[in-house]
Each structure stands twice: as structure tokens, then as C-alpha cells.
């Protein structure tokens, strides 16, 4: 009941705002939106208590029959994993709603913004609460829709509109894989229900062949990569920064992009049956992490730094879930939601302060001007850099330890992880130093000012969470692991190695982080290096030109092919063929036309001759003689 209600609240908010948003106006719409999500969070919190004592492993809430002949019902699953996700979504969501009241102040479509935000929360809840792949897919697509709507919220800007479309289309390519995975799953199992499938697989791992499991998992990975912006489908996320900053924080950092991680965690048992896929997922994750981290170094736009950082951090999560460190992956998902949302909101606050300026080249020396923003962002910075005891350290370290624990070829991934950790610390520090330290490089007339309370309050809350959030799952007291245990009961998870190894690993990763920060400090504070230009930096700024590459190899040829099909093949060949037949008939007709003299008596001769011929034929052939 409560679960249904916690889903219904944002939905009701969405519907109310959809029809009356304009009438409610500012700030009522914002309060209404925030209230529904906040209430949802409270309900989720209350409903989660049942798992803390380690009770049942989840229950199904059937809403209504959806596609009965497929046995596909609108059914919710309330288990620790979905509870965890719900808490993150509604919790962070509520904070970002509140923040948005301040951020979107004065926007002519203030109400519409909260309509979309509530739609997003609803969709995301459908995604994480779905009890079968069908409902999951519904949520999956609906978050894509809300993401589309929110990215292109300022649709007057052509770049925003294009970014929204790009996000949706790239996601659709991922969904294409997901959809095929669904078909494969349905064809193999005859149902899409999680519990059903997992139980069967648990009881009888040979129910599907390894090949099938590999196919399913790789296809799921395509879907997950699309949603979570992993290589090679990451290109939409940086562009998605065209959306308002709270959107970037909520959708493109904290929640929606982690849906891929959630899905892999949810379907962990499939991955367990497909070792190849584990390696692929982990490798994709590791490569993405490294790849995006290097790009982040070269960015000038504060939000794009964070965007690539998000891609990179998602890579970590994929690494984690890829090696079946499901708890580690989800743990990082949670902590990342805290500190990345905080970073985005902080960045939003900075942008707000700078009157909309996003280019770091025109910031600098903001420490004093926006002290609360600065203070909270420092927390997030330390957290993401992996310096204990802040949140990022614990989760990132757990992932790295689990990867290390798998040994073998995974060692290479661990090394990539460590390198990335160093790079992460470096580019985050670069961002912080360029923004808050040094001399002001502001444009004329810019008067930085601290944001209002409804924006700083969420920052403070998130800073608190970023600081202590890691403590929910320390090696000393793995609360989260216990909490999530029932959800992963069917999966044989990978764990961190025993003994002293984890401590050594932690030391190395802390070392990498500290090194990164220190080098950045030397470079940007001590040496006062400004934003770099040219050469390699240009390449990094353009994200290695992947966009151009896709443009040249896929988009342009695809469009050319379409044009060929439309204006040559279709118009000339297919339709030309049809018209050609018509033309031939016409030609024949005009050849025969002179036979029509128009003289009735000539026709009469024809009739008579025909009649005589017919009778002759009857006599000769018909045996009438």
C-alpha cells in the first residue's frame, strides 16, 4: 500500500502540474513538486525499515494486469535493492526539487519544469520498483522521455533541442539491445518476472546455456551502456549538459544514468552464468572510466568536466558490478549520487552566481564570494578524490578491491582503476582550483553572489551525506551489504580479499588520489597555470573527436543513404517502375488509338466480324456441326 502510494505521489504531482501547472505558478508548483517527492521519500524510509532487521527478501505489489497473454503485469517489487534505489531517487530528488525552486526562479515555464521533474521521479520509481523486465523497460523508456524533455527544456536554444534528441536517440540504440535481450529472455523463459526467472536460474543454472546467458547479458549491456553513457554510447551525456543544472544533477549524475548499473545488479544472476560478459562489462567500465577521466582533464566548461567525471564514475560502477561486486557497485552508485549531485548543484550555484557563465576561463577566485557553495563543494571534491574518510573513498576502494580480488586479467583493470583514481583527483582539483582559487577572471559587470537558502540548504545536506555516506558500508561494519543481501541471495557475489591486502590496496588508491590533488595544486595554484590551450588539450576538449567520428562514419553516411533511398531508390526506381508501367500502357494505348476512328459504322463492321468469327469458332471448335 505504502509502496503504491509512494509511486502515486509524484505521479499525482505530475498530473496536477500538467493540467494546472500554469495556474499554480511560481513558487507553488515548486513546493507542490518538492512536497510530493519529499513525502515519497518519507514513505520509502518507513517502508525500508522492514529490511533493516533483515526480514523478508521482498514482496510483490500487483497493481493491474497489463499484457495478460504475456503474463506481464504492472507489478512492483519492494526488496532491499529497490528500496535502496528508491531512497536515493526520492531523497536526492527531493533535495534537487527544493534547489530548483531557487534555481529556476523567474523562468517563464517554472511550472512546466516541475511537471517534468515529477514525471522523471515517477518514471525512475517505475524503473527501480518494477517487478519484471516489462515494467523496468517502461520506466527505462519513460526516464528517457523525461530526460529528453528536460534536456531540451530551453528548446528555444537549438543546441538544447538537438542535445535532447541526441540523448533520446542514443538511448534508443541502447534500448534496441535491451529490447532484443527482453525477447531472448521471454523466448527462453516465457516470463519476464524477476523473481520467477532468478529462482529458476538459481535452482537450475543449466536452464539456459552459457551462450544464451552471454547473449542476454551482452544485449543487456548494450541497453545499460546507452542509459549509463558507457563506451561507445557515451556521447549524449556531455551534450545533455544543455539542460538546466538541477536536471544535470538529478538525471545525468545521481539517478537516471545509474539505471544501467542498477539493471546489471538486478540481473546479476545472468552475469554470473556468463563469465565472458562479466569481463566485457568490467572492461567496458574500466575503459570508460579511464577514457572519460582523461577527457575531463581538458574541459573548460565546468559542467562538462562534471559530465565526463560522471561517465568516468559510472565506469567504476560497471567495473564493480561487472566482476559481480554487486554491493560495491550499488554502494558507489549511492555515494556517487550524493557527491556528484552536490558537485552539480554546486556548479549550478556557481553558474547562478556568475550570471549564467559556465566557462572556467572566466571564473577564478570565487572562494570568498560564494562561501557556502565553496565549502560544500570542497567536501564533494575530497569525496570524489577518494580521500578517507569521505564517501567516495569507501565505495571506490571497495570496487577496486573486488576487482583486484578477481585476479588474473582483472589485475589490468585494477591498474586502470588506480590510474583513473589519480586522474579523477587531478581533474577535480583542477576544476576546483580554476574556479575558486587564483585571480578573478570574470567578465565585466559580473557580480558573484551567494545563492539563496533554498539552494544552499540542499547543498549542505548533500555535503553532510557525502561526508558520512561512506560509513554505511565500511569493512568494519558492512551495513549496506547486510541490507542488500536478500536482494542478491541468488547471486554468488565477489567479495573483497581477506587479510591485509585490502589495506595495502587502499593505501595505493589513497596515494593515487593524494598525488593527483598535489600535482594539481602545484600546477594550478603554485605555478598559477591557466586554462591550457592547443594541441593535446584541443583533442581532449573535443572528447577525442568521438562526436565527429560518429558524425562522419554513421550520421552522415546514414543520412546520405536515406537520401539515396528516398530521392533515388524510391522516387526513381520503385516509383519510377510503377510510373514506367503506366507509361508503357499509355504508349501502347496511343499506338492503338488510331483504331478508334470514331465512325460508328466501322465499329459495326468490327462487331459483325467478331460475331461471325465467334460463330465460326463455335462451329469448328465447339462441335456444333
Amino acid at each position: 500500500m505504502l509502496i503504491g502510494l509512494l509511486l502515486a505521489l509524484p505521479l499525482a504531482g505530475f498530473l496536477t502540474l500538467l493540467f494546472f501547472g500554469k495556474r499554480i505558478g511560481e513558487p507553488g508548483a515548486g513546493y507542490l513538486g518538492s512536497a510530493t517527492v519529499g513525502l515519497s521519500f518519507l514513505l520509502a524510509l518507513i517502508s525500508s525499515f522492514e529490511f533493516i532487521s533483515g526480514g523478508e527478501n521482498g514482496r510483490h505489489i500487483e497493481l493491474f494486469e497489463w499484457i495478460p497473454s504475456l503474463g506481464l503485469n504492472a507489478e512492483l517489487l519492494w526488496d532491499p535493492l529497490s528500496a535502496m534505489m528508491t531512497l536515493v531517487v526520492t531523497g536526492v530528488g527531493a533535495l534537487i526539487h527544493i534547489y530548483s525552486i531557487g534555481y529556476m526562479h523567474g523562468d517563464p515555464r517554472f511550472g512546466r519544469f516541475f511537471t517534468y521533474l515529477n514525471l522523471f521521479i515517477t518514471s525512475m520509481l517505475i524503473l527501480v520498483l518494477g517487478a519484471n523486465f516489462g515494467v523496468l523497460f517502461v520506466g527505462w523508456e519513460l526516464v528517457g522521455l523525461s530526460s529528453y524533455l528536460l534536456i531540451s527544456f530551453w528548446f528555444e536554444k537549438p543546441s538544447a533541442a538537438a542535445a535532447g534528441k541526441k540523448a533520446f536517440v542514443v538511448n534508443r540504440i541502447g534500448d534496441f539491445g535491451f529490447l532484443i535481450a527482453l525477447m531472448l529472455i521471454f523466448a527462453s523463459f516465457g516470463t519476464l518476472d524477476f523473481t520467477h526467472i532468478f529462482e529458476v536460474l538459481h535452482d537450475n543454472a543449466a536452464f539456459i546455456t552459457t551462450a544464451t546467458a552471454t547473449a542476454i547479458t551482452l544485449l543487456l549491456l548494450v541497453g545499460a551502456a546507452g542509459k549509463s553513457a558507457q563506451l561507445p554510447l557515451h556521447v549524449w551525456l556531455p551534450d545533455a549538459m544543455e539542460g538546466p543544472t538541477p536536471v544535470s544533477a538529478l538525471i545525468h549524475a545521481a539517478t537516471m544514468v545509474t539505471a544501467g548499473v542498477y539493471m546489471v545488479a538486478r540481473t546479476g544472476i545472468f552475469f554470473e552464468l556468463a563469465p565472458v560478459s562479466q569481463a566485457v562489462v568490467a572492461t567496458v567500465g574500466a575503459l570508460t572510466a579511464l577514457f572519460a577521466a582523461t577527457i575531463a582533464i581538458g574541459q573548460r566548461d565546468i559542467k562538462r568536466v562534471l559530465a565526463y567525471s560522471t561517465i568516468s564514475q559510472l565506469g567504476y560502477m560497471f567495473m564493480g558490478v561487472g566482476v559481480l561486486g554487486l554491493v560495491a557497485g550499488v554502494f558507489h552508485l549511492v555515494t556517487h549520487a550524493f557527491f556528484k549531485a552536490l558537485l552539480f548543484l554546486g556548479a549550478g550555484s556557481v553558474i547562478h552566481a556568475m550570471g549564467g557563465e559556465q566557462d572556467m576561463a572566466k571564473m577564478g577566485g570565487l572562494r570568498k564570494k560564494v562561501p557556502i557553495t565553496f565549502a560544500t563543494m570542497v567536501v564533494a571534491w575530497i569525496a570524489i578524490s577518494g580521500i578517507p574518510p569521505l564517501a567516495g573513498f569507501w565505495s571506490k576502494d571497495e570496487i577496486l578491491a573486488v576487482v583486484y580480488g578477481r585476479g588474473g586479467g582483472y589485475m589490468a583493470l585494477w591498474i586502470i582503476g588506480i590510474v583513473t583514481a589519480g586522474l579523477t583527483a587531478f581533474y577535480m582539483s583542477r576544476m576546483m582550483f580554476l574556479t575558486f582559487w587564483g585571480e578573478p577572471r570574470w567578465d565585466e559587470g559580473v557580480q558573484p553572489h551567494e545563492s539563496p537558502i533554498n539552494m544552499t540548504m540542499p547543498l549542505a545536506v548533500l555535503a553532510g551525506l557525502s561526508a558520512v555516506g561512506g560509513l554505511i558500508n565500511t569493512p568494519f561494519k558492512p551495513t549496506l551489504e547486510h541490507f542488500l543481501e536478500p536482494a542478491f541471495e541468488f547471486v554468488h557475489q565477489a567479495h573483497i580479499p581477506e587479510g591485509v591486502t585490502p589495506w595495502i590496496l587502499a593505501g595505493i588508491s589513497i596515494g593515487a588520489g593524494v598525488l593527483g590533488v598535489m600535482y594539481a595544486y602545484r600546477r594550478y595554484v603554485v605555478n598559477g597555470t591557466q586554462l591550457e590551450e592547443g594541441g593535446t588539450w584541443e583533442t581532449l576538449l573535443n572528447g577525442y573527436g568521438v562526436d565527429d567520428l560518429y558524425g562522419k562514419t554513421i550520421v552522415a553516411p546514414g543520412k546520405a543513404l536515406s537520401e539515396q533511398l528516398a530521392f533515388t531508390a524510391d522516387a526513381k526506381v520503385v516509383d519510377g517502375g510503377v510510373n514506367g508501367i503506366g507509361a508503357v500502357v499509355k504508349r501502347l494505348g496511343s499506338m492503338l488509338a488510331p483504331l478508334q476512328t470514331g465512325l460508328a459504322r466501322s465499329y459495326g463492321v468490327g462487331i459483325l466480324a467478331g460475331a461471325i468469327g465467334l460463330v465460326v469458332w463455335l462451329i469448328v471448335a465447339g462441335g456444333a456441326v
Partner: protein, 521 residues
């Protein structure tokens, strides 16, 4: 079980619009402002009757022809008024009756010869309803052809610049298919008389009992199939469609896309699958392949169309490909998906054409490049357009997804490769619709002519809201519809399996396995 309510309700349904046409024909010609409201009022009557039928229809017996009526006209040849509605035709009948009042109300801007226009619309409705209820092949053919003439007039008289070309092309192309259809129908009826003790028969029930040689089945399948493939239209017989759609007046496009194209897919399901099961099984992969080519081809061609109406027309080629694919996958899921998708496509594409018509009335252009930034000036219009676009893209929660998903599942069992290729149509749909949306609705309003555009008025909202409601309903709660389709579909698949050595592929049944697993410990 007999489902008869002792009243010829189907005859009433089919003949009401024709009677209405007579009424309209008797109205004085100079009172053209009365025509639209009266016609709309008349067209609501068949809707009411169809809703009554929907209400009375027994879902459990969806495989049977209910409300059957049988009046002999020429008994020796089994020709007569044999009509009935089963789960397959039910929704199409309701869809037809539903779309007509909407498209008639949407025709308020027609000023040229309103009377003839309205008469054509009503006659068209009779023809379309007749096709879906006919259980006599000759009757079917008569109705099938009857739709052609009003449509020809609708395109040829009230269309845009190139209307005559489009109308003639439409007419000749489909009439060519019809000629083959008639030949095949007659051949089939005569073949029935070759059976000892049987005479010529056009009765669907009689012909269903007929065991044909595989050779005969093949030729007859092709004869029927040619007409239906042109009507659908299946690639490569589709080129009449973009022209006809583009040139037709709004209501014509709506009916053309919404209902007329379904005659082809309906014909495939109703006749090809049941009358020629062996040929169906043999030819199914070819048709499936053509359908997939159509899906991708239609979508690819749609992407670069400069004319938004043409774009939607090509998207129809793509969507109808899905329906044909589902039909010939010869699995229960695929066929169910195909049938529900017929309804879905009718709703969404119909709505898209309505929307395009509304903007056309304001700006008198269909070129995408003429627009831009419409979201700012017509937010409501933009919102509804986006809603319909997403329904067409197949966003879950809206109707398009249900059909596509079932079709893909069903065809996956038959031909996984084709299903995968077809699924790529889902991606392409997002590209062409969202790109068109981007170009038309977002960005700055840089064309002066677009600055003063009025947002939707009450009448326009009133015709769009019911469609949107249906789209949402079918997307969220398709159970009532699927419950009625399923028995009919099952019986068709069962029949094919019984008559031929074909076995419909099944899903892995987890339920069975789970039971075994449960018993083991």
C-alpha cells in the same frame, strides 16, 4: 454458443452511414454550413452502435462470429448478406466508427462542394465497416471496392496541388490489385464446386472447409495477397501511399492511414491465413522479409523527407511493416500484436495527420523547413504533437509499445534475425520523428509567418482529446482489447497447425520447469 440479439445490429451499423448519405444528399445545396454538423451527428450513430456491439461482445467467445446475420441473395452460389464480428474485426469496426466523427469534425475547413464531400465520407464509412464484417467473399469484394470510389473523390477533389495525379495513381494501383483479388475469389468459388456434392460458393464458412491442393493455394494466396499487399502497402508496392497521403485532405489522410490501410492487413489475417494455410506457411518467410525491408526502408526514407506529411506517410509504411511481420510470424503473440497494432497505428497516425492538417490550415505549407520554434507560439499543439510522436515511436505506457513488443516477441520465435532487424525500426522511428519535431517545434521562431500562429482552438482540442485518451488507455490497460483478440488469434493459429504440418514455435515455459523444480526437493 449463439450470440445473437435478435436484431440485425450489423446491418444497422453498416447501413446507417449510407442512409445518412442519402439524408445529406437531400439537403439543400446552399446550406453548406449545416452539412458538417449534421454529418458529424449522423456519424455518431454508427459509433454508438459499434459501442453497443463492443459492450455485448462476448470476449470468451472471441473466436466465433457473433451477431451473425445471414440472408441469402443467390443461394446456389452461397452469395448473400453473411456478416459477423469476431475478436479480430471487433476492434477495427470500433476504430472505424470512432475515427469517422473525428475526421468529419476535422473537416470544418472544407468549403468546396461540402455536400458531396460529406456524402463521400459517409459512403466511405459504409464501405469500410462492410469490409470488416463481411463473411461472404463477394460481399467483401463489393465493400472492398466501394471504399475506392469515395476515397478517389476525396483525394481528387479536395486534395492539394498534385491531387489528380495522386488520386489516379491510388485508384489504378489498388484497382489493379482488386482485379487479381476478384479473379482469385471467383477461382476459389469455382474450386469449391469441384468437390463432389458441392456447388459454387462464396460463403466464407463454406470455403473455410475447402481443402485445396498446395498448388492452388499458392496461386490463390498470391491473388489475394497482391490486392492486400498493395493496400497495406507492403514494400515495394508502397509508392501510391506517400502521394495519396500527402495530397489527400486531412480527413482523407486520417481515414486512409487509420482504416483503409488496415483492409490489407485485415485481409491477410481474415482470408490468406485461414483459406490458404499451406501457402501461408510456405510464403510466410518471404512476406516477413518484405515486411522487414518495409520497416527499415520506410523509416530510412522518412528521415529525409522535407514534407512532414510525407514523412508520416512513410512512417506508415514502416509501421504497417510491423503489422505484416507480426501477422506472418504465425505465432499467437505476433498475430495478436499485429491486430492490436492495426488499431494503434490508426489512432496515432490518424492523430498525427490531424495535427498536420491543423497546422496546414494555419500556414498552408507542409514543408518542415518553413517551420521552427512552434513550441513557443503553440505550446499546446507542440505538446500534443510530441505526445503523438512518442506514441508512434512506441514509448511504453502508450499504445504503440504493446503492439510492437508483441510483434517483436512473436516474430522473434519465428525468425530471430528478422526480429532484430525489425527492432532497429524502433531506433529509426525515434530519429525521424524527433528530428522532425526538433526542426519544426524547437529553436527560435525565425520565420515571420509563424509568429502570430494561434494555438489549438476548442474544436481541435475536442477531436484530439478522445484519441489521446484511447492511446493512453490502450497503452496502460490493453487487457480488455487483448482479451477479445486472443481467442480469435488462437483459433487461427490452431487451425493452421491442424491443417498443415506447421507447428507454431512456443516460448520456453518456465511455469512447467518451475513445477518440476518445485517437486524435486
Amino acid at each position: 454458443m449463439e450470440h445473437s440479439i435478435g436484431f440485425p445490429v450489423i446491418a444497422l451499423l453498416v447501413l446507417l452511414p449510407a442512409a445518412g448519405a442519402l439524408v445529406i444528399a437531400m439537403l439543400p445545396k446552399n446550406r453548406s454550413e449545416l452539412m458538417m454538423p449534421i454529418t458529424a451527428a449522423i456519424s455518431v450513430l454508427p459509433l454508438a452502435v459499434s459501442l453497443f456491439i463492443l459492450w455485448e461482445f462476448s470476449a470468451a467467445d472471441g473466436a466465433e462470429f457473433q451477431f451473425a446475420e445471414s440472408v441469402n441473395w443467390y443461394e446456389p452460389w452461397g452469395i448473400g448478406w453473411n456478416v459477423g464480428i469476431d475478436g479480430i474485426s471487433l476492434l477495427l469496426v470500433v476504430l472505424t466508427a470512432f475515427l469517422f466523427p473525428i475526421s468529419i469534425i476535422a473537416s470544418a475547413s472544407i468549403t468546396k462542394d461540402v455536400k458531396l464531400y460529406m456524402v463521400s465520407m459517409l459512403l466511405l464509412e459504409t464501405g469500410l465497416l462492410g469490409v470488416f464484417v463481411s463473411l461472404d467473399l463477394l460481399l467483401f469484394f463489393v465493400f472492398f471496392e466501394m471504399t475506392l470510389i469515395p476515397m478517389y473523390f476525396l483525394i481528387g477533389i479536395w486534395g492539394s496541388e498534385n491531387r489528380v495525379y495522386a488520386a489516379v495513381k491510388f485508384f489504378l494501383y489498388t484497382a489493379f490489385g482488386s482485379a487479381l483479388l476478384l479473379t482469385a475469389i471467383i477461382a476459389l468459388a469455382i474450386l469449391h464446386s469441384n468437390v463432389p456434392g458441392q456447388s459454387i460458393s462464396f460463403n466464407y464458412a463454406d470455403l473455410n472447409e475447402l481443402a485445396l491442393s498446395s498448388n492452388a493455394q499458392m496461386w490463390l494466396f498470391l491473388g489475394f495477397g497482391a490486392a492486400f499487399a498493395i493496400k497495406v502497402p507492403l514494400f515495394p508496392f508502397h509508392t501510391w501511399l506517400p502521394d495519396a497521403h500527402t495530397e489527400a485532405p486531412t480527413a482523407g489522410s486520417v481515414i486512409l492511414a487509420g482504416v483503409l490501410l488496415k483492409l490489407g492487413t485485415y485481409g491477410f489475417v481474415r482470408f490468406n491465413l485461414t483459406l490458404f494455410p499451406e501457402a501461408t506457411v510456405t510464403l510466410a518467410p518471404w512476406l516477413g522479409a518484405l515486411a522487414v525491408v518495409g520497416i527499415i526502408y520506410g523509416a530510412a526514407v522518412a528521415i529525409v523527407q522535407p514534407d512532414v506529411k510525407r514523412l508520416v506517410a512513410y512512417s506508415s509504411v514502416s509501421h504497417l511493416g510491423f503489422i505484416v511481420l507480426g501477422t506472418f510470424a504465425l505465432t499467437s503473440q505476433g498475430l495478436q500484436g499485429g491486430i492490436i497494432q492495426m488499431v494503434n497505428h490508426g489512432l496515432t497516425t490518424g492523430a498525427l495527420f490531424l495535427l498536420i492538417g491543423m497546422i496546414y490550415e494555419r500556414r498552408h505549407t507542409r514543408q518542415i523547413s518553413e517551420y521552427g520554434g512552434l513550441s513557443s507560439v503553440m505550446p499546446l499543439f507542440a505538446g500534443i504533437f510530441l505526445f503523438m510522436a512518442f506514441a508512434s515511436i512506441g514509448l511504453p505506457g502508450l499504445n504503440g509499445f504493446i503492439g510492437e513488443f508483441k510483434i517483436l516477441l512473436g516474430s522473434w520465435l519465428a525468425w530471430p534475425v528478422l526480429a532484430i532487424l525489425a527492432a532497429s525500426g524502433v531506433v529509426l522511428a525515434a530519429i525521424y520523428l524527433l528530428w522532425a519535431y526538433e526542426r519544426m517545434f524547437t529553436g527560435p521562431v525565425d520565420n515571420e509567418a509563424n509568429k502570430g500562429l494561434q494555438d489549438l482552438n476548442g474544436r481541435e482540442i475536442a477531436i484530439l482529446v478522445p484519441i489521446a485518451a484511447m492511446i493512453l488507455f490502450l497503452g496502460l490497460y490493453p487487457k480488455p482489447a487483448l482479451d477479445r483478440i486472443e481467442p480469435a488469434v488462437e483459433s487461427i493459429i490452431d487451425r493452421i497447425e491442424r491443417v498443415t504440418d506447421y507447428e507454431a514455435p512456443e516460448f520456453g515455459r518456465i511455469a512447467d520447469v518451475a513445477e518440476v523444480a518445485g517437486e524435486a526437493p
